[in-house]
């Protein structure tokens, strides 16, 4: 029996080769892409889930009342962690955490190492297993260093690393550290990435020693492990006294200045964020919001694509069943019951699905390297090889096969014996289903296309927007060498000053956009002004900063060439001026604890942060001997490439051991749009695939419809219908479906894109053309797809089509 089924299934598939190929191609593409997308989404969702105590691990942050409303603050002060553990019940373990880069030397070799500075509890909380060396407390000492396997290999090769000494550049001195343990390389689903781990106290003076005992200097994150018996909400409540005690000043000031308290009526509240949520949390806009939209969106796209391919399969199977009516009738007469027929037809579907899934997996394997490069992800198919996930996958494949293959099979097995023997099929009911499925298909395609268009528009808008500074002619790079920043800049100026294509050189402690090294920092300063609390971003700059970036001074002056004479001057942006609210802004002063600074100039607002945020108040300082971190070089607009090479060469002579990580500021801006670009590529390729698959379905349907209406076409031609009349007759039914799909999908797309754009402070206006464009694309492609078949049918000789009867 089974052999018989297989045999007839294969023969049937072969007989309907065209449809089999269309189905297999469509399903293969859909399964292949769905596997890749699901893999990507699962990979994203599985971040930081490998920690054994993961469920009890939290990041500690606070909700602070500020002039701009409640803001999330993840930075904590040096005494905070220890005090919290001592004073509030429920803290099982706690660690401070700073992630940064250091320069490590071993013998005469130098290595840039990404580094985590943590407290000793770190290794007991997080699952970064130690495979060699001191397994209990490897960073108890301030001169211990723990390395990953990979870092060990880079530094020592095959030598025994434990007990070796390396030196790390700190406060311009080489400080020796002893290797005490080797940890396993962290899984690629870890947000915490490091090459080496050091004791928190091993940080430089600026980051640690200077901050000891000070509650007002917040510069690191804090993670804690909650005791098993305590609920996070309960813990958050129990920290009220702790906050009242240690942040009394801040709370009183917030009350005095009339700031909005948070939803619990508190001006400062400690909160816990589950470790697995940290990666998906947004700390930039008011209270923390955790959003896993992106991975779920990707999962959604993969589901939609599978759905479209399955719709093709269902439609084709049902339409084709008309050709198999006699077989069905005959089998029933010969004694087949419904169940047997159902299993026969379902079996055929399963065969097609098995082939497609097999090919789909091959396709996914083949496309994986390209996928990984395109989306800069380390997700691999191994991500999906987890038993429970595999079970879910297998079940969903079974479910898809059951529905997509089972529904047509059910319809066929239910047909009446005599009707099917006579070849009569009541088609009215099924056309409704077919039509609604096709409307859905095209609706999805149009939704995805318009999404792509809007996204692309927004990204182009952000990329090309005038940000208020010169981004085309300025190269920025991190000062990542051994010299101190002032020396390095001095040398750079000297080296470059004779070059005709170099306009000016400066430095600052922040970076515009996102540099090649991927590191960023912000300093926010809070102080009192005229009896109110005021907050400003603090940017420390070198001479010529304003000139190099072409910032516009609207009042007052720029910093003098002789920067030392301006060490007590500040220049503020418009937003800051507005906040200070002075009649004569140039006569105003700001009073920080250590000194009083005079405002000497006001610059026009420029977008020093990303475009999802409004321009915040900002103050430029010209402090001497400050950590500057990034150099900016303005070059003349001719031959930018040559200028880049010159700057690179100059840096290489100054710091021969450091890597030059320079890029033009417009590239930096581009880098901040990576997330959006990934989304465009995902949704864009999804929409292309969706429209292709929908058209495969449409093409198959046009084949079948033309075949079914062959006689009608012949008769119409004999009674005098023209070729165009017949083409229109055949095309209009399908076009109607696409138009309905457009009418349904556009409002949904509008609503979705409108919501998405709310994430950006600077955004494009939605206009009707984006949606009409998407609809137009769908209509044109659909027309082209069916044109071939319908025109051929319309021009064929009617005698031929009538002879078959």
């Amino acid at each position: 029996m089974f052999k018989n089924y297989i045999k007839i299934a294969l023969r049937n598939l072969w007989k309907n080769r065209t449809f089999t190929v269309l189905n297999v191609v469509g399903l293969t593409a859909a399964f292949g892409v769905a596997i890749l997308l699901a893999m990507y989404a699962v990979f994203q969702l599985s971040f930081d889930r490998f920690h054994e105590h993961g469920d009890a691990l939290y990041m500690v942050y606070s909700e602070d009342s500020t002039p701009n409303g409640v803001e999330a603050n993840i930075s904590k002060s040096e005494p905070f962690a220890a005090a919290l553990k001592d004073e509030v019940a429920g803290v099982e373990k706690i660690t401070r955490y700073v992630s940064t880069g250091v320069l490590l030397s071993q013998e005469d070799k130098q290595f840039g190492m990404s580094t985590a500075y943590v407290d000793p509890d770190f290794f007991n909380m997080f699952s970064f297993p130690i495979i060699k060396g001191d397994k209990t407390n490897p960073i108890a000492s301030e001169s211990s260093v723990v390395m990953t396997e990979l870092a060990t290999k880079r530094i020592f090769g095959d030598e025994e690393p434990i007990g070796q000494t390396v030196s790390i550049l700190r406060d311009e001195q080489q400080v020796p550290f002893t290797v005490t343990a080797i940890v396993k390389d962290s899984p690629n689903t870890s947000s915490m990435g490091f090459d080496i781990v050091l004791n928190f106290k091993s940080q430089n003076e600026h980051a640690y020693a200077r901050t000891i005992g000070r509650w007002d200097m917040e510069n690191h994150e804090v993670y804690m492990q909650l005791a098993e018996s305590v609920q996070p909400k309960q813990f958050e409540k129990s920290t009220t006294d702790f906050t009242q005690l240690h942040y009394k000043n801040e709370i009183d000031n917030a009350k005095r200045d009339g700031f909005q308290p948070n939803t619990d009526g508190l001006y400062r509240q400690l909160k816990l964020l589950p470790l697995a949520d940290v990666r998906f949390a947004n700390f930039n806009q008011g209270p923390v919001t955790v959003s896993r939209t992106m991975p779920y969106l990707v999962l959604g796209i993969s589901t939609l694509i599978l759905f479209i391919a399955c719709v093709n399969f269902i439609n084709m199977s049902i339409a084709k069943s008309a050709q198999r009516l006699r077989e069905i009738g005959m089998r029933k007469t010969l004694g087949a019951n419904k169940k047997q027929l159902f299993f026969q037809f379902w079996g055929e579907s399963i065969l097609v699905f098995l082939i497609s899934i097999g090919l789909g997996i091959l396709l996914a394997v083949f496309l994986l390297p390209y996928f990984q490069t395109l989306f800069k992800t380390q997700a691999s198919l191994a991500t999906l090889l987890n038993p429970s996930l595999l079970l879910v996958l297998i079940l969903s494949v079974l479910l898809i096969t059951l529905i997509a293959g089972g529904y047509p099979a059910l319809l066929m097995s239910r047909l009446g014996t005599l009707q099917s023997l006579k070849g009569k099929l009541d088609v009215n009911g099924k056309n409704h289903l077919r039509n609604s499925l096709m409307v859905l298909q095209f609706g999805i395609a149009i939704l995805l296309i318009s999404g792509t268009l809007v996204l692309w528009d927004q990204v182009e808008f952000m990329r090309t927007k005038d940000l208020g500074f010169n981004k085309d002619q300025v190269i920025a790079f991190p000062l990542n060498g051994q010299l101190n920043d002032q020396q390095a800049i001095e040398l750079l100026r000297n080296t470059l000053q004779d070059k005709p294509n170099i306009v000016s050189v400066t430095a600052s402690n922040n970076i515009l956009g996102l540099g090649k090294d991927g590191s960023r920092s912000t300093s926010v300063l809070g102080f009192e002004h005229q009896g109110r609390g005021v907050e400003t971003h603090m940017v420390v700059v070198d001479a010529d900063y304003i000139e190099t970036l072409d910032l516009n001074i609207i009042e007052g002056r720029s910093f003098r060439k002789n920067l030392a004479s301006d060490s007590l001057s500040v220049i503020i942006n418009e937003a800051m001026a507005k906040q200070l609210n002075e009649d004569d802004i140039l006569a105003s002063q700001i009073d920080l604890d250590d000194a009083v600074y005079s405002v000497v100039g006001v610059i026009k607002d420029f977008n020093f942060q990303e475009l999802d945020q409004n321009i915040a108040p900002m103050t430029l300082f010209a402090l001497p001997n400050w950590n500057l971190r990034n150099a900016y070089v303005k070059v003349s607009s001719q031959n930018l490439e040559q200028a880049y090479t010159d700057v690179k060469a100059a840096w290489n002579t100054i710091e021969p051991n450091a890597e030059f990580q320079g890029s033009f500021l417009n590239e930096n801006i581009d880098r901040t749009l990576r997330h959006e670009r990934t989304m465009i590529t995902m949704i864009g390729s999804g929409s292309i695939l969706a429209i292709i698959l929908s058209c495969i379905g449409l093409f198959a349907m046009s084949l079948l419809i033309v075949a079914q209406r062959k006689k009608e076409i012949g008769v119409r031609k004999i009674v005098g219908a023209s070729v165009s009349a017949i083409t229109i007759l055949l095309t209009k039914d399908f076009l109607k479906l696409v138009v309905i799909a457009f009418l349904i999908a556009s409002p949904i797309a509008w609503w979705a894109m409108h919501n998405w754009l709310q994430n950006y402070a600077y955004r494009i206006e939605l206009n009707i053309w984006m949606f009409l464009g998407a609809g137009g694309i769908a209509v044109v492609i659909a027309m082209l797809t069916i044109a071939v078949k319908t025109i051929k049918a319309a021009t064929s000789n009617p005698v031929e089509s009538l002879r078959t009867e």
């Binding site: 045999k7 006699r326 005959m330 004694g335 019951n337």
Partner: protein, 223 residues
């Protein structure tokens, strides 16, 4: 005393065509005894095929009684009915209705598959049948490769493989030339001699003459 195979008592079939009630079969009364060879005659639309389909349980009478081998078919459930016809009835069609995707051998074998006959037994039975109809050499051909007469031969072989008590043949020679027709009718006469009960519907006087009894139908009534 011959067994009564089929007994129709006031059997009627009406269908609704729009708002009109159309009577296809009107109070049919007759018995078929085992071993008979009955020819149903009548012009197109007289109800021959409908009567055959109803007797073959592919269709139902809408009124009256139908007893098959003493069992009341009219009050049976669909499942038991299909069990009954699977067991006792074989069909032969004017258009042969062979399954295009199956070979001669597989076409003949199919009813046995649905009866869950064991593989070895199946082989023997199909081989017998191929022998008996002299089509061993054609067993691996597909229907499309056979002449009409040969296809009908396969159709009859398929109807017989389940060893039915009753063969229902609806215009079995309608698509065949006279020589092929004659061969097929000879075959039916031969089968009837071997004990198979046959009811055929036909237009042709000469074909009808092969039967042991002729029933004439006109507008759904026996005349």
């Amino acid at each position: 005393m011959q067994n009564i195979l089929v007994s129709l008592n006031e059997a009627t079939r009406t269908v609704n065509s729009g708002s009109n009630k159309v009577t296809l079969l009107d109070n049919i009364n007759f018995n078929v005894e085992e071993g008979e060879f009955i020819s149903l005659m009548g012009p197109s639309g007289s109800g021959k095929s409908t009567l055959l389909n109803c007797i073959g349980m592919l269709d139902n009478f809408t009124g009256g009684g139908y007893t098959f081998l003493g069992e009341p078919v009219h009050s049976m459930k669909e499942k038991n009915r299909s069990k009954l016809y699977k067991e006792y009835i074989g069909f032969v069609f004017q258009a042969y209705h062979l399954i295009d995707e199956l070979t001669v051998y597989e076409n003949i074998e199919t009813p046995l598959l649905y009866k869950n006959v064991k593989s070895s037994e199946r082989k023997a039975m199909v081989a017998d049948m191929l022998d008996r109809f002299n089509i061993v050499g054609k067993k691996d051909l597909f229907p499309i490769q056979l002449s009409g007469g040969q296809q009908q031969l396969v159709g009859i072989a398929r109807a017989l493989i389940g060893q039915p008590k009753l063969i229902l043949a609806d215009e079995p020679t309608g698509n065949l030339n006279s020589k092929q027709s004659e061969e097929i009718m000879e075959l039916f006469a031969q089968l009837n001699k071997e004990g198979v009960t046959i009811i055929q519907a036909t237009h042709s006087e000469s074909n009808a003459a092969y039967g042991s009894r002729i029933i004439n139908l006109l507008d759904g009534k026996i005349v």
